[in-house]
């Protein structure tokens, strides 16, 4: 959707929650995303790792879904792209494993183990963290979309 259409939805008073919630959400989504990426990327040095980082990313997008309306969240990050990022994360994890298979065994650590306590070190562990984080984040956002977009139809018994 075009940028002015998204702006129109954001400032519409009938969609989404009240204006206080929208202002705070607008300020808070970027730091939460940054925090999620930080925990995901530094998974081999500080506690956290791929799973916690991925779930924090899903929470940031869920905040956007709940504070602004469903139309705006689906315009920014639709169900198709959530499913696609889920598949790409899983594919990246398996491809890393197969590259290791050519050198040694499956999921062999083929990048050289660097110096400890640096960001670029520990072989394939940061790459696997990022792949798992993207996969888990996209999958949990997709399940939240799935609970909200299908219309709740009450089935009437045939009289």
């Amino acid at each position: 959707m075009k940028k002015e259409n998204i702006e129109k939805i954001v400032h519409d008073n009938n969609l989404g929650m009240s204006i206080i919630v929208k202002t705070i959400a607008r300020m808070m989504i970027a730091p939460v995303l940054l925090f999620g990426f930080y925990i995901m990327i530094f998974g081999h040095l500080t506690p956290g790792g791929g799973f916690a980082g991925g779930v924090i990313l899903a929470i940031a997008y869920t905040l956007m879904f709940m504070a602004f309306s469903k139309k705006m969240a689906l315009a920014k990050f639709s169900g198709f792209w959530a499913s696609m990022w889920d598949n790409l994360g899983m594919l990246a994890f398996i491809v890393i494993g197969f590259i290791g298979l050519n050198v040694g065994f499956f999921m062999f650590n083929f990048i050289a183990v660097g110096e400890p306590f640096k960001l670029v070190s520990a072989g394939i562990i940061p790459l696997e963290n990022i792949a798992i984080g993207i996969k888990v984040g996209a999958a949990l956002y997709a399940i939240f979309i799935g609970l909200s977009i299908y219309e709740r139809i009450l089935i009437q018994e045939e009289d």
Binding site: T46, G49, F117, I143, I155
Partner: protein, 116 residues
């Protein structure tokens, strides 16, 4: 030992809620309490009194760390278990929503009585 018995009591409470209540959301709550109790039990096995968390810091003494760290293997198993529990909860919530849409109630004994 007392800690293990309290943990088993938490498991037993979750099991009681799962089998004796009739509201579907209460059954889901019982299942969630059982999951918390099992994850806690696995971490309780690997605890060492006066231990250090299994994360190395720059400039730490390696032999002191090896003698005093807690067990990292149960922590690795529990990490995947927690996220799988979330996936299971999403599936159970989807079941609860569809059952409410079809039968109009959350009560399991009513649902067992109605046909189709």
């Amino acid at each position: 030992m007392v800690v293990y018995i309290l943990n088993a009591t938490l498991f037993a409470l979750g099991l009681y809620c799962l089998i004796a209540k009739r509201h579907i959301i209460k059954k889901i709550i019982g299942m969630v309490i059982i999951e918390y109790s099992v994850n806690l039990f696995l971490i309780l096995i690997g605890y060492r009194k006066g231990g250090i968390a299994p994360i190395l810091e720059p400039g730490a003494d390696i032999t002191h760390f090896i003698k005093n760290s807690v067990d990292p293997l149960p922590q690795a198993l529990v990490l995947t278990s927690i996220v799988i529990g979330l996936g299971t909860l999403a599936l159970m919530a989807a079941f609860a929503i569809k059952l409410y849409d079809k039968y109009g109630t959350f009560d399991m004994s009513e649902i067992k009585r109605l046909k189709g």
